[in-house]
């Protein structure tokens, strides 16, 4: 065959050039992390940018609203030192949400007590959580003698996630790690049939009922344009996570992914574009009006009933079978039961510029009010990724990730002594990286309580520390576990 390869490549790149217009220079506006569509939408031709620049600079010189030459959108690199009390602030820009009631609260007069002293150990062993390509731990659960996290001695910790271990950068396999103590971990041997394949497979959550372990996530069916795309997937283990098999999960219409699983009665309840239950994890039946839920990202058992958090708001059920939509608070990422009510952790969006971590309270799950609209205590705006809120002793622990630059993030931890009314930020820069270090993030948190009542915090996520010292590219994250020991 006579084919001039160089000529074909030139013709093809010319064709691509016709498809892709040049990138225009950005308007004079500090760069903030945004969705890809929003990013492109903010780009204007260079000439317009220059004109706007001159006008904006002139206004800044005249008005000087920031008190300095630099606009305060990006915080200076810093190590958070002492815990910073956080009180609600007035929002600089009207939030996009309208249905959520906003409340403000005066700054606390009394100084807050010192939070418990927590020593953190990061387990980021490259031989377990690392590898040639990026790995990501999405969720962790404890297998204990009574089947519920934190209710007794732990037999095992099971973490699930994904590993780009396939033949190319974009073949992602599901991955499982187990540990007896949280400190030493073992990767379950990769099984190309169950966990891998020529597809994108990812475990997003895991739960144990003491007898069996269920992991949920998604698989990509096919790699090409006309392939069916993502489908929800469920994996089952009957030996504390040491071996796994896929169980059938067929729905009509198809569900693209499942993101949450919790023990329910003697079986499990899973959530995604609907809710499904199973007695033994083998066969699954829909619960409630599955087409109405929106996308459920979290199911939470509480004293006042079952909660399902979705992009449509809060759903409640007295028994796990009958569900009702109760509140338009889609910003909630997690909810903690504090005994005499519920405290929710989420984010309040500030226009399209970013978000602020915020806390809501509810007495009964039906009505939610904002307790604290900005845990950071600063007026700067970033994108935040609220992850979890958990009771730790007499305190509440809220964990999220802050996008610090265009694509870097690091975890931020806050503790509240008074059920979410006031918050102290923990200095965790030693274990989680300084504010401007690239690529670490917490995905899930579990609190373990031993027989003496002593609690340990286990967090899982990703660690970009190896990128910091230049030994790997910035996009080659490793999985990581952080163990927080609460000292007496």
């Amino acid at each position: 065959m006579v084919l001039d390869l160089d000529r074909e490549l030139r013709r093809y790149t010319e064709y691509l050039d016709e498809l892709v217009e040049p990138v225009s220079l950005p308007v004079f506006e500090p760069h903030r992390a945004q969705g890809r569509r929003a990013r492109t939408g903010r780009l204007v031709p260079a000439f317009g940018a220059a004109l706007l620049l001159i006008l904006a600079i002139g206004l800044l010189v005249v008005l000087n609203p920031f008190g300095s030459d630099d606009p305060p959108f990006v915080e200076e690199p810093t190590t958070v030192s002492a815990p910073v009390p956080s009180v609600p602030t007035t929002l600089a820009t009207t939030p996009t949400i309208e249905a959520t009631p906003q409340t403000t609260q005066a700054a606390p007069v009394e100084p807050l007590p010192d939070p418990p002293s927590i020593s953190w150990t990061r387990i980021a062993d490259p031989s377990i959580f690392g590898g040639e390509r990026a790995q990501n731990i999405n969720a962790v659960t404890a297998v204990s003698d009574c089947g519920t996290e934190g209710c007794g001695p732990v037999d095992a910790l099971i973490a699930v996630g994904s590993d780009r271990s396939g033949a190319d950068d974009f073949t992602v396999d599901a991955a499982v790690w187990v540990s007896a103590d949280g400190l030493s971990w073992r990767r379950i041997p990769h099984d190309e049939f169950t966990l891998g394949g020529d597809r994108h497979e990812e475990m997003r959550d895991v739960a144990s009922n003491g007898d069996r372990v269920v992991a949920v996530g998604s698989v990509l069916l096919g790699r090409y344009v006309d392939s069916p795309g993502d489908r929800a997937a469920i994996w089952l283990s009957e030996d504390s996570g040491n071996s796994w098999r896929r169980v059938p999960f067929e729905t009509d219409p198809p569900v693209r992914a499942l993101s949450t699983v919790v023990p329910f009665e003697s079986g499990f309840l899973v959530g995604g574009n609907g809710l499904w239950m199973s007695e033994h994890g083998e066969t699954w039946t829909p619960v409630g009006l599955e087409t109405s839920f929106g996308y459920v990202h979290k199911i939470i058992p509480t004293e006042v009933g079952w909660l399902a958090l979705s992009d449509r708001g809060v759903w409640m059920s007295p028994n796990g079978y009958d569900w009702s939509w109760v509140a338009s608070v889609p910003e909630l990422a997690d909810v903690a039961d504090v005994g005499d009510g519920l405290v929710g952790f989420g984010e309040i969006f500030v226009g399209d510029m970013g978000s602020r971590p915020a806390v809501w309270q509810s007495a009964n799950g039906l009505e939610w009010t904002v307790l604290n609209d900005n845990l950071t205590g600063r007026n700067t705006i970033h994108f935040h990724e609220p992850r979890a809120i958990e009771p730790v002793g007499e305190w509440l622990l809220a964990v999220g990730n802050q996008q610090t630059r265009a694509f870097w993030s690091r975890p931020r931890l806050w503790m509240s002594p008074d059920d979410g009314r006031s918050w102290l930020e923990l200095d965790v820069s030693e274990s989680f990286g300084k504010l401007y270090d690239p690529g670490s993030g917490v995905s899930d948190v579990v609190i373990l309580t031993d027989g003496t009542g002593r609690q340990t915090i286990v967090m899982v996520g990703v660690w970009g520390g190896t990128a910091i010292d230049g030994t790997t590219p910035e996009d080659q994250y490793d999985g990581a576990v952080w163990i927080g020991t609460i000292e007496d």
């Binding site: 006579v2 390869l5 490549l9 691509l16 040049p22 990138v23 220079l25 990013r39 492109t40 994108h200």
Partner: protein, 157 residues
Amino acid sequence: MLESSQARLESFTVFCRDAEPRLRHALVAAYGPDVGKEAAAEAIAYGWENWDRVRAMDNPIGYLYRVGRTTGTRWLRRPTRLPEPPRSSDPPWIEPALPGALNRLSRNQRIAVMLVKGYGLGYREVADLMGAGVSTVQKHVDRALGKLRKELEVDGA
């Protein structure tokens, strides 16, 4: 301050005149037209925001290329798909099997061969962009051409 800001914009504009096509071409080669364009826009925006720091670097375009790659990798959860050209003409003016064969190259091989053989960049330029040595780029190009010849059944494979 006004003058320095204008000078800052001018220096960034001059930089972009040369850097934008290379960034865009490389990131489109890496991630396809949609994500590649967005990743290039992200890199340019990041460069503007951090221009004082970026322009002091030894290899600013290489740094912004890494910004774009990191962004592209985060966005892209599927294998890269370069689009197929239209097949209206007879005979086709672009070998129809070429995009698929390019998609099956490793990312670095695809970037290198498209920049060198398609867009006509020099090995040194591509090496600066990718943050690699010239010999590494040459190896990527040679291996990519070898795979393409074999897959497209070009004489000499």
